[in-house]
């Protein structure tokens, strides 16, 4: 298996306090790595550390983030611009806050595509239409002229995924992508991720607090607790032979 993302001994601090403590993780090509943990365990901080979008009070004190063997922490800002949103794409929790409310959906596609490719308007429109069709959104032509507030949360989340599809990202970092959605939309979005993974061989880092999401989609699982990875396993081993007491507690919280 090809390693796409490797996090080695990563520590993030705010002041003197450890927010993340020596995190080690590996995500493989075409696989979904699920990261599960309760609120406040540092899951989102980890995503931001990988994307280097940490809040200004936080800093990486040690460790490496390797994307295809290249340490992202040493990459120049200009090069990062080419990576971020081109190869590494982030899907955020709150779709209604992630869009520019005075831009149409087509505007969002144009802006994203322009940042990385030289294309004509017509080409951009075609790519956008294809991407919207891939995420099973109805009436893509009309949709392009809509503003974000005219779409539901579930639709916006699929538009966000379509944006990543349009630039053919190879690593998706999805931070609680379905938490703000109802169960039916959640199922659709997860099915979509599964489809993207099998069609494009993309790697997905799926951050969630929901065991159901892990059971549905993940191939490997890492458990975060108080800023540390306390257990990492294949998804079947994770459910069948949990090691850490916290993992056991987590599994007991399932309702059925």
């Amino acid at each position: 298996m090809e390693k796409v993302l490797e996090v080695k001994d990563l520590t993030v601090k705010i002041g003197e306090k450890n927010i993340l403590t020596s995190i080690n993780l590996t995500a493989y090509k075409g696989r979904v790595l699920g990261i599960i943990g309760e609120s406040g365990s540092g899951k989102s901080m980890l995503c931001h550390a990988i994307m280097q979008t940490l809040p200004s009070v936080a800093h990486v004190s040690q460790g490496e983030v390797l994307y295809l063997q290249e340490n992202l922490l040493n990459v120049s800002a200009a090069k990062w611009r080419a990576y971020r949103g081109r190869h590494l794409s982030m899907i955020l929790q709150n779709p209604s806050a992630a869009f520019d409310r005075i831009q149409t959906i087509e505007g969002h596609f144009r802006e994203t595509l322009k940042a990385h490719f030289k294309l004509t308007k017509k080409e951009m429109r075609q790519i956008a239409l294809d991407a919207l069709k891939k995420v099973h959104l109805p009436y893509p032509e009309q949709l392009l002229s809509y503003y974000p507030f005219q779409l539901s949360g579930g639709m916006l989340q699929r538009v966000m995924i379509a944006l990543s599809l349009a630039i053919q990202a190879s690593l998706y970092i999805a931070d609680e992508p379905t938490t703000a959605l109802d169960t039916i939309n959640q199922k659709q979005v997860l099915t979509l991720f599964n489809q993207i993974r099998s069609e494009t061989d993309a790697t997905i880092l799926l951050v969630t607090h929901d065991l159901g999401v892990i059971a549905e989609l993940a191939d490997d699982v890492a458990v975060m607790y108080q800023g540390e990875i306390i257990e990492q396993a294949n998804v079947f081993d994770f459910f069948d032979v949990p090691q850490h007491p916290y993992t056991k507690k987590l599994l007991q919280a399932r309702m059925l």
Binding site: E38, S39, T179, D182, T183, I184, L211, G212, F239, K249
Partner: protein
């Protein structure tokens, strides 16, 4: 005994097409009828936009329906005088999804929990203190927390304060509108267990509104399924259903183990 009787509720919003111009009426609820027994937990499930929350707000008296009647303990909520309503108000409480926005951020937890008593009871300062202490006890929070502000509490703690506030006046019915949806799994389970033990202890009735069929099943005696503003089906104790809307909600339940992945995708 019947606690709540909802009869033929219709709700329309007028769509505004241009400034000062009223457009077509959009039906949000159509002919919604059901009743709730004392001590019962009734689940209401449906996709977002199906009208669940509007129904909840109408039951709480926050929004007036276009047509229809609601009787709470035999009193018509929308025809009684405000004096009557005030008596009902204390028996009818709510817990909403966004726990933080349900508080005044400038009040301490003590002030938040004291407020129902200031509005409805004539307690001395000492008595109020005692009551707030009991409430915090009831939802398993420390007394020391009373001095904190909502922003200093975690989501789960905030939701417990919300429940405590709803319990303050010993209500008969609590409307739980997506009350556990924003919590993580361990907290969801804790809060559900808390709600269930409180229900037994205080003979409460609940209306549990959620988009999550699994959690609703766990919590409720009966489940009403909503779609496009209408009640389409009642799922009883045996858990059988026929309507496509129920089927869709059922299909959306995520597996509890990766082995069940494929099986779930097939119908039934």
């Amino acid at each position: 005994m019947t606690l709540l009787d909802v009869k033929n509720i219709d709700m329309h919003y007028a769509q505004r097409t241009a400034l000062f111009q009223r457009g077509a009426k959009i039906p949000i609820l159509q002919k919604v009828t059901f009743s709730l027994q004392e001590g019962e937990c009734l689940g209401i499930v449906g996709q977002s936009g199906s009208g669940k929350s509007t129904l909840g707000r109408i039951i709480l008296g926050i929004e007036r329906p276009t047509n229809g009647e609601i009787f709470f303990q035999g009193i018509n909520l929308y025809e009684s005088t405000s004096k009557h309503i005030k008596i009902i108000r204390r028996d009818l409480q709510a817990v909403f999804q966004n726990s933080y926005h349900s508080f005044n951020p400038k009040q301490t937890i003590f002030e938040i929990l004291e407020e129902p008593f200031l509005n409805f009871e004539h307690f001395s300062k000492l008595e109020r203190r005692q009551k707030v202490r009991e409430l915090l006890d009831c939802v398993e929070l420390e007394w020391a927390m009373a001095q904190n502000y909502p922003s200093q509490l975690s989501g789960g703690q905030q939701q417990r304060v919300n429940i405590a506030r709803a319990l303050a006046l010993k209500p008969k019915l609590i409307v739980l509108d997506e009350a556990i949806s924003s919590l993580d799994m361990i907290l969801q389970k804790t809060i559900i267990e808390l709600l269930q033990s409180l229900q037994k202890e205080l003979q409460l009735s609940y209306i549990f509104i959620s988009h999550d069929l699994q959690a609703t099943r766990f919590m409720s005696d009966r489940i009403l399924v909503m779609q496009h503003g209408q009640l389409v089906e009642e799922i009883g104790k045996d858990g059988t259903y026929q309507h496509p809307a129920s089927q869709e909600l059922h299909n959306a339940i995520l597996p509890s183990h990766p082995r069940e992945r494929k099986k779930k995708d097939r119908p039934n």
